[in-house]
Amino acid sequence: MPVPRCSGPCGGVRPAALRRPRTGGAVCRSCFCNAFEAEVLSTLQTGRLLPPGAVVAVGASGGKDSTVLAHVLRALDARHGLALDLHLVAVDEGIGGYRDAALAAVRRQAGRWRLPLTVVAYADLFGGWTMDEVARRAAQEPGRARACCTFCGVLRRRALEEGAQRVGATHIVTGHNADDMAETVLMNFLRGDSGRLARGGTLGSPGEGGALPRCRPLQFASQKEIVLYAHFQELDYFSEECVYAPEAFRGHVRDLLKALEAARPSVVLDLVHSAERLALAPAARPPPPGACTRCGALSSRSLCQACALLDGLNRGRPRLAIGKGRKGLGEEGEKQSCTSKDSSGGPSRAGAIQAF
């Protein structure tokens, strides 16, 4: 098959290097990279995501999304004078054989781009709990290995927030792409999570109750284009799947999305559009968030999900805060007795969250 000429702004000077997955247009390497960057810039500008002078904590996992995000932000900042102060914040979940390698990639990136890097570890933040240990504990309850990602996701958000606070950031950006958003919408429907459906669909949260504003500049970029961009920019990233991921429910939805995309290339953005436009009954909307009674973080209940999960772990009942199992939690009145039990039972783990 003959290689078509580039149909982009270069005017066919160069041969095309790829077809853009969504539009099908054949473009050359530099036209593609320019267009990709211009689209991220447009998201930043039209969404008014990062004001000039913002201190931005980039959630860096070492994977393709966050690598591309950091690279694009750095390039745009230099080219368009966005006056951003970029920091990489990485979270060490303590997953043997997976996270160490990913963190090495983040360190290499930070060195190459000369960006300051902060690593926050679960072990330090959450009183000695690493993901490996959480998984071991969760596995003691039969048939519930799926819960791993539930723990990790909640704790990672908490850790990222903490890392960002440490570097004095004013904004947090994460590398979530359009595919992630589409998967999330589908999952929230399949799980009947109307609270999240009502909350989702925007480019991030404005930051309330002491939490930093978060945003997702890659929300409209498709996963395929991110991979292509990383490929053309020869970015060095870590591309292995987490050892616990294969058991996650998200896997089903991811497969579905891939099949849907084959049937209709625009389906990912169509799902994002749907999420933007969902209208939920006022009763389904979550109450305005307050603060966690234990750690002071933003929470829609008296105990934030991170504290609730840790509480369950510390009491040897890891499923306590998952699904409908919140009843056993000492959310209000029992707080006193919980702490005392903790201090007697788990030596180093008691009140770890209060420390920060």
Binding site: E39, D270, H273, A281
Partner: protein, 540 residues
Amino acid sequence: MCQVGEDYGGPGPAELQPKLPWRGCEQKCMKCKEGLPVLIIRAGDAFCKDCFKAYYVHKFRAMLGKNRLVFPGEKVLLAWSGGPSSSSMIWQVQEGLSRESAKRLRFVPGIIYIDEGAVCGQSPEERAKTVVEMKLILQTIAFPYHIVSLEEVFNLPTSVLQPVSQGPRGFENTYKEAVDGFIQQQQQQQQRAPEEGGGEAVLSDEQIQEKLRQLSTQDPVGQEEVAGDSLPRPAQTTALMTLFSSVKTLTAREELLQTLRAHLILHVARVQGYTKVMLGDSCTRLAIKLMTNLALGRGAFLAWDTGFSDDRHGDVVMLRPMRDYTLKEIAFYNRMFGVPSVFTPAIDTKAPEKASIHRLMESFILRLQAQFPSTISTVYRTSEKLVKAPRNGDAAGAATARCLLCMCALDIDSTDSATAFGAQTLERLAQKLSPAPVLPTGAPGRPCCTKGTRLQPGCCRDTRPSSEREEPRASFIEQLCYSCRVNMKDVPFLEPFPPYILMESQCRSQRAWEKQEVQEFLFEESEEEALHPLGFSPQF
């Protein structure tokens, strides 16, 4: 229902199955405690035949009673596809009408069957055979019926695409008044009956008819004959097949079929004076439809597309009374009580699983349901939390415009917004060599034919440069909602569309263009005063 895929509350099927053989013999019906159970609904709920029937019938009546939308004496059109769900619905209505007076359903039903054989791969002989089979069943039911072939869309008037607005009314009060009025009227009739003889029932029916006719405003064109029983003209069948074969994907074909079917049902309902239409969507079907429509970009309209009532057309309201039944319940009921149904191929029959979004989502949900038995009920329950309201922050002006095809309020964001729509516009722009000036949302291209004339194929082609040749298409697309625009990407030509759609589209772009032309001469007064003298009726 002791099969995989049913809605068990607690333990999975693996834990249930070994218990059944030895418990089954002595188990009694959980409702009446004496009957011999014949089936199990959900986890361990064994029902005898009578109790299952009572449970099933009650569900239907409860759905209607809870929502209080069907008024006594109202004409209701039952949309029948021949499939198990809509067949069961008709049986429920028949059952409800044959009850003793206190519990009788009080509306006046009719049935519509749309023969879609032309686009579902049926030969004329097969279609004729299906229609005969349908008629055999319809004759046993003794409701008035309308058999309409899909080809009739080529005879539809543009009024189908214009929602008829109805003033807001307090449902609670009007419903009670209507019921009281109806009962009073009936009592009066009964008192007068001995004096005047047997002609009473006919008279009251006519009165209702008359009232309904006043309610529904109709285009004069709308009176033309639609409900022809005979097979459609071959020319129209060819035109219909040309239209469908020009559509590139099965996904868009399925959506087009649903759109045309809805228009046809709406038109028949209006012409025949029906003010409600009942659709047979089951809980299972609705859960699949919800997820499908989500993937098609119809997030804004989910409450209309899958809710109990759908009032987007104004005067004719679509209802889904079967939405509480799972497909399995329906199948069991139909089998036990001999509800006849007719198998007709659908547009995606025999298509591979990956052929369309609809098929993919259907098999995904059903497979997930087999693994996680609460999938469908969870999705269904989530759908009940959706409301028919635009999200906060929508532009007030955009709320009035309706999509040409699906008739929902346009859900188009501005091209320079941080939204999925804005992002796609930008992507398309990047594709072009020199970014052509893009029309702002809602700004029409100049219409090519003069107002009121029928669109003549080719009238605005060949004489203009290629960029202008695209104009009718561009202004057509601007009248669509997000999802219909995505579908239109798979429809390369406008010409095969039925004339009523093209004419209405042209009319709208003409109106919008005229409005733009005179815009600068208008004073910025209140909208009412500024628009009415010039004849821009708030049609949509």
